[in-house]
């Protein structure tokens, strides 16, 4: 069985390829945009006996590249997505690219399109947690966001991307499995999620407080994607992905300071965050956008609303953490410490 992994050169993509190899899938087409990200895939190929990694370069904004990526493939792991940039770039890289891929899947004349299985890596950001109030548990039954325009662009683009996959699934009938990871972290990733706080100038504004941080260590996340992606009972299902024994945002920050280095941080309780958001919104409105409303009450409620999380559905599928949260955080901080020393 030929497997396609889009975004294979990315932070998560390399780990998904590694876990696929570990689960015995050796015939893998790694689709990536940037040839400079091929090194780790080539290392994987060299270190796994029998691995047949095909490195395919292209851009999913191109319909012909999508058709080329899908040729002879029966299992698709779609990880490619825009992570930063303007709204137009994010939508082009996440949503338009996904639509092109789905069109190419539908257009296959070998009726393979209907038989194929597609595994989409979505995001926690698609949930509409704000109307549910503070402290609500987020699981796979939590409603999707009704007001994507009030959220950050990344969450909006991921929501639109996921909606597109469900729409096409209903029309074309292929098997769809959706994974919604929380905060993916680990060596090669960033230091802080917005759920911990925001770096504004020289000060880190710690807004997450004692909220649980839905961390998903990159190896554990990749394992979850592969386990769910290949499980016979997962078709049509959604799985939240995060580790067990989640730390709070304040514990994460404390451990960061202890293991990586000192940063100047300022803790803002939730009521102060709401007040600041209200002021920023009011000024943004009054000044017609002279300063960006980087925090709004809606965004604050979504990011720092103190949700609880459940990964029990993923556990029921047979997933378990490969790396404990303790070891994962240690490895992450060790990497960040080395990075800081290099700088």
């Amino acid at each position: 069985m030929k497997v396609l992994v889009t975004g294979a050169g990315g932070f998560l993509g390399v780990h998904v390829v590694e876990r696929l190899l570990a689960h015995g899938y050796t015939d893998i087409r790694c689709f990536l945009r940037d040839s400079s990200k091929a090194d780790r895939l080539l290392q994987l190929s060299a270190s796994h006996q029998g691995a047949q990694l095909e490195l395919a370069y292209g851009n999913l904004r191109s319909k012909s590249d999508c058709a080329r990526a899908l040729a002879d493939v029966s299992l698709v792991f779609h990880l490619a997505a825009g992570l930063k940039g303007s709204a137009a770039e994010l939508f082009a890289d996440s949503v338009v690219a996904s639509r092109n891929l789905l069109d190419a899947l539908n257009a296959r004349d070998d009726s393979f399109g209907q038989k194929a299985r597609v595994v989409l890596v979505s995001s926690f950001g698609v949930y509409g947690v704000v109307p549910l109030g503070r402290g609500v548990q987020v699981d796979e039954r939590t409603p999707l966001e009704d007001h994507p325009e009030r959220r950050d662009i990344y969450s909006y683009s991921k929501l639109r991307q996921e909606q597109l996959f469900w729409d096409y699934q209903r029309k074309a009938g292929y098997e769809l499995v959706v994974l919604r990871p929380g905060v993916i972290y680990g060596p090669g990733g960033g230091a802080f999620s917005n759920r911990v706080g925001l770096q504004i100038g020289p000060v880190f504004f710690h807004m997450g407080g004692n909220n649980l941080l839905p961390l998903a260590y990159v190896t554990n996340c990749a394992e979850a994607i592969v386990v769910a992606g290949i499980h016979p009972d997962s078709a049509g299902q959604v799985y939240n992905v995060h580790d067990d024994d989640l730390p709070t945002a304040s514990r994460y920050l404390r451990e960061y300071k202890r293991n990586v280095g000192r940063i100047r941080s300022f803790r803002m309780p939730y009521f102060a965050v709401r007040l600041l958001a209200w002021l920023l919104e009011a000024y943004h409105r009054h000044s017609l956008g002279q300063l960006p409303a980087i925090i709004t009450r809606y965004k604050a409620a979504a990011a720092w609303g103190g949700n609880k999380f459940s990964n029990s559905k993923l556990h029921q599928l047979g997933w378990s953490q490969l790396v404990t949260t303790y070891d994962a955080m240690a490895a992450n901080f060790q990497y960040l410490h080395k990075q800081q020393e290099k700088e």
């Binding site: 945009r33 940039g85 303007s86 709204a87 137009a88 338009v96 909006y156 017609l288 002279q290």
Partner: protein, 360 residues
Amino acid sequence: MTSKIAIVGCGKIADAHVEEIRKIPSVQLCAVCDLEPIMAEQLATRYSIPGWYFDVAAMLDQEKPDVLHITTPPQSHLALTRQAVAAGCHVFIEKPVALLHRDVQAIIAAATGAGRKLSVNYWPNFEAPALELRRLFETGALGSAVHVESFYGYDLAGEYGMAVKRDPEHWVRRLPGRLFQNVLDHVLNKIVPFLEDEEPLIQTIGYCGDGEGTEARPGQLLDELRVMLQGAHVSAYATFSAHARPVGHSLRVYGTKNTAHVDFAARTLVLDRKQGFPSALGRLAPPFLVATDYLRQGLKNINSFSHARFHYFDGMRRLLTEFYLSIERDSPPPIAYSEILRVSSMMERIFEQVYPEVFA
């Protein structure tokens, strides 16, 4: 009466158009359009715009806008302009106006032939310091122009630059003048008001700033450009740099009386004045005179900020306001067509020197 505005092309720059249009009370943004429906939908959703389309003919037919903003890649500008003016729209075009000079001529001819007005998004020229410079020049405070230096920096490591760099099929890379064509309007449109010759002498050097020399490898982008222009009375030097830091954006006009320096990034205008102090005193005074200018500019900027007139694209808001007013009053548009044509003519002559194989 409120004018109806529509936009075709929902890429990155369309956000700026939407935000500036919404600041002008006399107009209403009625719809946006993109060949890619997802792009039109996301823009309309984020800004609560009532209509979105993926067929510009349908949008023009159903919305009947008074003005169409064309923010698509330049390859489509001529056809869209013809379609817009045939539907009775005035046209506001994003730079670069077109691929070739003859297309720019055809665009202007299409608009004027249909009795419609047209303008181009030369927004930095409508920033407060740029307008002040023009006023100083027109009132004779600088004397006659002798030489002009226009500098434009670009960060290819930024979001947009990376998108251009990593995508060999990016529309910018398919322009006859490649990366330079997407930015050179902003370098040259500051020079043409002072250098009025139709065909100045032009000497150009384009090269790769990472040491690859003047010959680009296949697919590689030239990202440094130096242009010397010589008119009958005024010379100019235009610089585009993707490597100089900080990323600057400035204009210096050397006059027979005084020299003015506009920093578009800091929004300042300072003058190097002739001063009459004798001997060593004459060397002591200038820093304080310039410092006074900077202090005055800083206070002006604070005043603008406090009155919510310090947005990044404030120049675009001014330009659009003037353009919409010119339509309402049937007066000349804010940018003379002759200036647009001279910019486009210079650009093409520069690209002929940098990429002779394209124009062979």
